[in-house]
């Protein structure tokens, strides 16, 4: 692969006049796994100018994090840099001595990590860890202390002295990440590397952290390298972006241009597999990318995307594509800063988006038939060391045949507890009733009739956890068929094969163990299992959040298709607003165990909204680049063990009415047919307030 290291690899292009803050040149990295070197990076090149934010995107396993860590020469013990340079300020990081490297990390480069809870030493106070960052720069104890307090104020921590005195585990996730950012900025670095800095944080907290990163990096003028799998985040934050695939950057350019007019077949596929521009399942199916990402270490002599590319030609099979500049005559008219690693960028437009697919039919909710599932006055209170924690409070919900009810909410909202209460995995508090088809069903699950068990099944978030890893696929499906339908032997086997075929699993898949399947296939098996007894209701708990977007698209298509065919009702729990918009007919928004708003998907997305929903929707970074006014929420999500008085959202609500909201909890009120919310503010006022965006 060294033969075609193209002259433009450094990506300097238009920025040639300014020396780059970071220049990665032809980086090759391998991991030694079971004694064999396996290529992870196959020649990665990019550069970042001072003050510029550069993003690396790609699906898991493409090498984006490895690129970031290799740039700071922090690789796991089995990883090694085989080739290439990492130039910072005229120095090659790969050639530094231990002392130089240490000085480089102390003074010139900093990093923020994915999991802030793990990133700080659990046994030392926050203050000590932060002060250490300053004493390292030669400050005295006293100077370092005041610098530390100042640094915390800069990351918008209101009470820095108190936070300094805490241990990391006593802080919330958002707070922890602010402290880590404060630590990273302590040395006023020239280069800041952010590795999935908001993955695992709630949407409203994520938006806060991203704001902070944007403001602070602009203030300090450092170069930022941002690693994220969420394309929305990259678009919102990055000037330029590199799309990685199988250890190579396949496309690079200004983020708006790359996302609006992709020039590599992989980027095209990636973007099309996302539910964008408010598309719904009734309009069309999502586009998917066939095949899977090659395992690390696979030999890929020519184009890395060859096996999955719909426009691959004979040239692609024999010649490694160069990294070519693409002429772009867009609004900015800038050329020479867009590159693609493709032989045929001119044929990209041949990749048609499959809008011709048959629209999926959806049943209109029937007025005459009883709801397939109905929850009335359902509450769930956990006891933790003699403290009662209300996880669900007076939930009222109905689900009609063939309908998808989306349930969205942040952590602590009770959405998973709600699913468990429906299924009888958790018993509900006295007074609450779960009924199926008009008759009340008992909990726990074990006390339900076989018919009830058959009628409601579940698809879990993580197929690795949901499938017994020592059972074969056939055994997994067979057992469910036997238990749920009562048929045995040959007949059961026939049903298993029919079921598998229906979910497009081949007979070959049946004799494999889950570990031998890719993530998407595993989730397919889990769905097949849930459908083994022709259920009326399937509860899906974040079924695609562990999957890459291209696989997610296939799973969502499958779910939509099964529903259209079998009239199954779904309860679809998710935190992804794009996914829920695509799939759900109705949406319930939860906060601290209460349903704050419930209504048809269009009503929820078009408003008027409950102020919480409004904030949640504004917090989602969009891939489409549409301008949104962010509604900033004050404070943290309160603990369910200690909910605020009155309306539980009032302490964070930007529209709270003093003297009312903190006193009484509003009831769930219908504001228009089928659209209810739990808010004191009259609907006319909300419509008025939400018409002109709040200026803050």
């Amino acid at each position: 692969m060294s033969s075609t290291t193209h002259s433009v690899e450094s990506g300097a292009g238009a920025l040639a006049t300014i020396p780059a803050a970071l220049a990665v040149e032809g980086l090759e990295v391998a991991y030694t796994v079971r004694g064999i070197d396996r290529a992870v990076l196959r020649g990665v090149s990019f550069s970042i100018a001072p003050g510029e934010t550069f993003g690396l995107v790609g699906e898991s396993g493409c090498g984006k994090s490895t690129s970031a860590y290799a740039a700071l020469r922090y690789l796991p013990s089995n990883g090694k840099i085989l080739k290439g340079r990492v130039m910072v300020d005229g120095n090659d990081v790969t050639k530094m001595t231990t002392d130089e490297l240490q000085r480089f990390r102390a003074k010139d480069a900093s990093m923020v990590y994915q999991d802030p809870a793990q990133a700080m030493n659990p046994t030392l106070r926050v203050g000590r860890q932060l002060i250490e960052s300053f004493t390292l720069l030669g400050q005295s104890k006293q100077e370092a202390l005041s610098s530390a307090l100042e640094a915390l104020r800069k990351v918008r921590i209101a009470d820095p002295a108190r936070v300094m005195d805490r241990y990391p585990f006593q802080l919330s996730g958002g707070m922890q990440q602010r402290v880590v950012i404060a630590m990273a900025l302590a040395c006023d670095p020239k280069l800041l590397v952010l590795d999935e800095p908001t993955t695992g944080l709630d949407a409203t907290v994520e938006a806060e952290v991203l704001d902070l990163v944007r403001v602070l990096s602009q203030e300090s003028g450092c170069a930022v390298l941002l690693i994220a799998h969420n394309l929305g985040i990259i678009r919102a934050l990055c000037d330029r972006v590199g799309v990685m695939y199988a250890g190579k950057i396949v496309e690079q350019g200004p983020s708006s241009q790359v996302f609006d007019d992709p020039q590599h077949p992989y980027t095209v596929g990636l973007l099309r597999s996302l539910p964008r521009h408010g598309v719904r399942k009734t309009e069309r199916a999502l586009t998917t990318i066939p095949g899977i990402l090659p395992l690390i270490g696979t030999s890929l002599p020519t184009c890395v995307f060859l096996d999955r590319c719909p426009i691959a030609s004979d040239t692609c099979r024999t010649v490694e594509p160069p990294f070519v500049a693409v002429g772009f005559a867009g609004a900015s008219g800038v050329t020479g800063e867009r590159f693609t690693r493709c032989h045929h960028p001119e044929r990209i437009k041949e990749m048609k988006e499959e809008v011709t697919q048959v629209p999926i039919s959806v049943l209109a909710p029937s007025e005459t038939q009883p709801n397939v599932l109905e929850l009335s006055h359902v509450s769930k209170t956990f006891r933790q060391r003699s403290v009662s924690v209300p996880a669900l409070v007076d939930v009222e919900l109905g689900l009609s045949e063939g309908e998808t009810l989306g349930i969205v909410g942040e952590s602590g909202s009770g959405k998973s507890t709600l699913a468990k209460a429906m299924l009888g995995i958790e018993t509900v508090d006295a007074g609450g009733v779960v009924s199926m088809g008009g008759t009340a069903v008992p909990s726990p699950t074990g006390s339900r009739s076989a018919e009830n068990k058959r009628s409601m099944q579940m698809v879990f978030q993580n197929p690795d956890s949901a499938l017994n890893r020592s059972w074969s696929v056939r055994r997994i499906l067979m057992r469910s068929v036997e238990k749920l339908t009562g048929v045995k032997g040959d007949e059961a086997n026939k049903r298993v094969e029919a079921l598998a075929a229906h979910l497009r699993l081949t007979p070959r898949h049946l004799d494999l163990k889950p570990r031998q399947l890719s993530g998407g296939l595993k989730q397919r098996v889990a769905i097949a299992r849930a459908f083994a007894g022709d259920p009326r209701i399937v509860v899906c708990d974040e079924p695609t959040s562990a999957l890459d977007v291209s696989v997610q698209a296939a799973i969502l298509n499958l779910l939509a298709d099964l529903q259209a065919e079998q009239k199954t009702s779904y309860v679809f729990i998710t935190h992804d607003m794009g996914v829920v918009r695509y799939l759900a007919d109705r949406i319930a928004v939860m906060y601290l165990g209460r349903i704050q708003e419930v209504g048809d998907t269009d009503d929820v997305f078009n408003g008027p909204n409950h102020p919480y929903t409004e904030a949640l929707l504004s917090a989602i970074p969009s891939v489409d680049g549409e301008e949104k006014v962010r509604i900033r929420l004050e404070g943290e999500i309160p603990s369910p063990a200690n909910p605020p008085t009155g309306c539980v959202f009032h302490p964070r609500c930007p529209r709270a009415i003093a003297g009312v909201c903190e006193v009484t909890e509003p009831p769930l009120r219908e504001v228009s047919p089928g659209h209810s919310m739990r808010c004191h503010i009259p609907i006319e006022t909300l419509i008025e307030l939400q018409r002109k965006p709040m200026q803050r």
Partner: protein, 316 residues
């Protein structure tokens, strides 16, 4: 924190009671006459009866059980069948002598093995690491009496170093005692080396790969400082647990070592009691060992709570 200590103390009481019950059942598992068992088949019947009366072993089992439980909580273990003196007068001095041996062994082995563990972790998969790991494996898997016998053959006999009989004569100075206790203590030290070094190694390896270590390194802290202020504090908790648990297992090994070196500690006392079927002494000794084990694990937990604020502040 207070609640934590109180809970632990309560759990020690419960465990002691269970332990006493287990020992009681073991001793009384066979039906029959204790006096006959102890005095042998040729003793005259009236002596056996008198024996049973004196010790209360003619009473119903339930009554004997209640009495034996009461005894533990008053630390009065009854009288020895053999010497007719109070059990506590026998086992406490013996424990003191064994403790001397154990303390010496720990003083030798703890610093060396922790250092070896850290060194091995830093040189993971290198030659030094493999050497320490395998030496540790060997040292902890060989029974102590084997090590003791080999040390005896090598040092006391071939090199004339140390003493074959470890009991120092009365009135020997503390330093003078070292000469006597050195070889048996070394035999035990060798046995602990493996456990402690291997546990330290894996603790340090875990901490080395932890995210907070990455943060500290990426901050640009020098290696030594990362090790001292970030890694060790987190890495030593499992080591402390292992040391405390070893104090319980230690007693098994000490029996063999004391036998080889003819040392009159708790191990020899117990072995003697087994030979003479002196049940009260044996029972008392086992309970004492259990108590030592539990106090040491409690101390270890407190130390861990001190090192780890999460345990201290969350109570879990």
């Amino acid at each position: 924190m207070q609640k934590f200590i109180l809970q632990r103390l309560a759990s020690i009481l419960v465990t002691m009671w269970l332990l006493a019950t287990i020992v009681f059942m073991l001793v009384n598992v066979l039906p029959g006459d204790v006096g006959r068992k102890v005095l042998g088949p040729f003793a005259p019947q009236e002596e056996v009866v008198a024996f049973n009366q004196r010790l209360g072993t003619d009473k119903p089992l339930v009554e004997q059980y209640a009495k034996s439980i009461k005894r533990i909580f008053t630390l009065d273990f009854g009288t020895s069948y053999q010497t007719k003196s109070a059990v506590s007068k026998i086992i406490f001095p013996a424990l003191g002598r064994s403790a001397k041996l154990a303390v010496l062994a720990f003083v030798v082995t703890i610093p060396i093995s922790i250092f070896a563990g850290i060194y091995a972790a830093r040189r993971k998969d290198k030659f030094a690491d493999r050497l320490i790991v395998n030496a540790g494996l060997a040292s902890s898997s060989i029974p102590e009496f084997v090590t003791a016998a080999v040390l005896l053959a090598l040092f006391a006999v071939q090199f004339k170093l140390g003493k074959a009989f470890a009991n120092p004569p009365d009135g020997t100075s503390l330093v003078g005692q070292l000469k006597y206790l050195f070889l048996p203590a070394l035999a035990m030290a060798v046995a602990y080396f493996g456990y402690i070094a291997r546990m330290t190694r894996s603790g340090v390896i875990n901490a080395l790969s932890a995210d907070y270590t990455r943060t500290a390194t990426m901050k640009g802290l020098p290696k030594g400082k990362v090790m001292r202020s970030h890694i060790l504090r987190n890495a030593l908790a499992p080591t402390i647990t292992v040391i405390s648990v070893q104090i319980g297992y230690l007693i098994g090994g000490i029996i063999g070592v004391e036998k080889v070196f003819n040392y009159s500690g708790l191990g020899s006392t117990m072995l003697g009691a087994v030979g003479a079927k002196d049940v009260p002494v044996l029972q008392g000794a086992v309970l004492l060992v259990g108590l030592v084990y539990m106090v040491s694990t409690l101390l270890a937990d407190l130390l861990i709570a001190y090192l780890n604020p999460r345990v201290r502040l969350d109570g879990k």
